[in-house]
């Protein structure tokens, strides 16, 4: 069981620790709803040091990353980040990741903790024909996500005015406390916020400083539980639920991150083929009409026909309603009404557009 550099802090703050992807991580501090609403209204801090970091360096770093990922890196500038996917030849997803362009010769990837080892091996095995060196730097970095409408004010205070110069989905290197950290204006919550990468052992120092300076903003420590309810309210995918090796990105509503008209990438042919034949499955987003909370695996019926299943669901803290995402047969759409089977009862739900919170 691995621990992040902030484990002792989590323990001392009485958070509930669980095993996540081989790491001991805080799932909740004061309460999922409380933490969730702090991010929506103030600022919350997440320890996401369990995520993986992979560096790709060399003359062909750009070409290699373009080949590796489904989105188009030709439009990405230096110090810009891009959400994209790694796919297998079959088109199934290996992972959804964020790529940070340092330069044409150096790319930095942030990958899901549950896939870190797999992704690294996948990337290395595909790099043989390219002039690049791939290194797994996951244990070099702590990562904190600082999210919420007041996150900018807090970070200006702690990291300085350079924070104001960073545009959405861009990053920069900032000197802090004797090291250089990467401040990226990205996040998984739908709120204003940053994700900060810094040397492993400095993680606790930044966390403590953020809380020290953050009292006036109501800064709240947040765990994985709130991370999930926040992303679900935005309709963001979670690997293993909305996408996995048997669900391709075209099926899970991630079309805009798959550039089929651009350069070749692993899985492109399979996805082109899939697109040509008409999508067999589609991701839907829905809100319960009858009582009940939809959960992963629950069957979805459309007009009494078994159409698919729920991929993720919860009671939305912001809305006070039950919401869910699901994968269903494409041809089963009609007037937007579906039924979710919860504990042997058919409950009515209706399709709504994303994000759930407007």
């Amino acid at each position: 069981m691995r621990k992040t550099a902030l484990y002792d802090i989590h323990k001392n703050n009485n958070s509930k620790i669980v095993d996540f992807a081989g790491w001991q991580m805080p799932v909740v501090y004061s309460g999922i709803r409380d933490e969730h609403m702090s991010v929506r209204n103030g600022v919350g801090i997440f320890d996401v040091s369990h995520m993986g970091e992979i560096r790709i360096k060399g003359k062909q770093a750009h070409e290699f990353c373009q080949y590796l990922t489904t989105n188009d890196l030709n439009v990405v500038k230096e110090n810009q980040a891009q959400y994209t996917l790694l796919c297998e030849e079959s088109g199934g997803a290996v992972d959804d990741i964020i790529v940070y362009k340092f330069s044409d010769n150096e790319y930095f990837l942030c990958v899901n903790a549950s896939n870190a080892k797999k992704d690294y091996e996948w990337i290395v095995s595909n790099s043989k024909d390219f002039d690049v060196i791939v290194t797994d730097e996951s244990l070099n970095y702590s990562q904190l996500a600082v999210q919420g409408p007041k996150s900018r004010d807090l970070l200006l205070k702690v990291l300085g005015t350079e924070i104001d110069l960073i545009k959405k989905f861009y990053f920069n290197f900032i000197k802090w406390n004797g090291s250089v950290l990467i401040a990226a204006r990205t996040g998984y919550t739908g709120e204003e916020g940053f994700e900060i990468f810094l040397p492993w052992e400095k993680g606790p120092l930044l966390w403590n400083k953020l809380f020290e300076d953050g009292i006036q903003y109501g800064t709240t420590p947040c765990g994985l539980g709130a991370r999930d309810t926040l992303r679900l309210e935005m309709g963001y995918s979670l690997y293993g639920f909305e996408i996995d090796k048997d669900i391709n990105p075209l099926e899970s509503g991630l079309d805009r991150y798959v550039k089929l008209e651009s350069d070749d990438f692993i899985g492109k042919n399979a996805l082109l083929e899939y697109g040509r034949n008409g999508k067999k499955r589609k991701l839907i987003s829905f809100e319960m009409v009858d009582k009940g909370i939809p959960r992963n695996g629950y069957p979805i019926y459309v007009n009494d026909d078994l159409a698919g299943y729920v991929t993720s669901g919860t009671l939305s803290p912001s809305l006070g309603k039950s919401i869910g995402l699901g994968l269903v047969k494409s041809e089963s759409f009609n007037n937007g009404e579906i039924q979710v089977e919860i504990r042997n009862n058919m409950r009515k739900a209706r399709i709504v557009s994303l994000p759930f919170i407007k």
Binding site: K16, V27, V28, G31, I32, R33, G225, D228, T229, K291, G292, I293, R295, T314, L315, P317, S322, R343
Partner: protein, 131 residues
């Protein structure tokens, strides 16, 4: 410190039963409410419904998880705690008092023998923790 009152009976599904003269009050234990986290939804049976020992009769949900409620005894639901429909978090706050879930008229008082006493339940929890 997990609270396990000695005057109650328990099940391995982390439920408790308070035995009255002709009815039994049922809820979930302190251990259960702590493991679930903040409870956001409770699915209750209807008054007049029959429940059968070992079968599910409802559910409790937190933002991240679902837990079925299992009938510790067979009987007829004579009262449900409607306050839980509005404020499910009462179970977190007071699992053995105002967090009671249903009141049941038992069909077979022999079934009470199958329930654990507080010491057995305490041991059961300790063994679970060691796994």
């Amino acid at each position: 410190m997990v609270d396990i009152p000695n005057d109650l009976k328990y099940t391995e599904e982390h439920e408790w039963a308070r035995v009255k003269d002709d009815w039994i009050e049922i809820g979930v234990t302190d251990y259960a409410q702590d493991a679930l986290g903040e409870i956001v939804f409770v699915e209750l049976p209807g008054e007049g419904d029959d429940i059968t020992i070992g079968d599910t009769f409802g559910g409790i949900e937190s933002t991240k998880s679902v837990s079925d409620l299992y009938a510790p005894i067979s009987g007829e639901i004579i009262e449900i705690n409607e306050a839980l429909l509005e404020s499910p978090e009462i179970i977190n706050e007071d699992p053995y008092g105002s967090g009671w879930i249903v009141r049941v008229k038992p069909y077979d008082s022999n079934e009470l023998e199958t329930l654990l006493d507080s010491e057995d339940y305490s041991e059961f929890i300790e063994n679970q923790a060691e796994e």
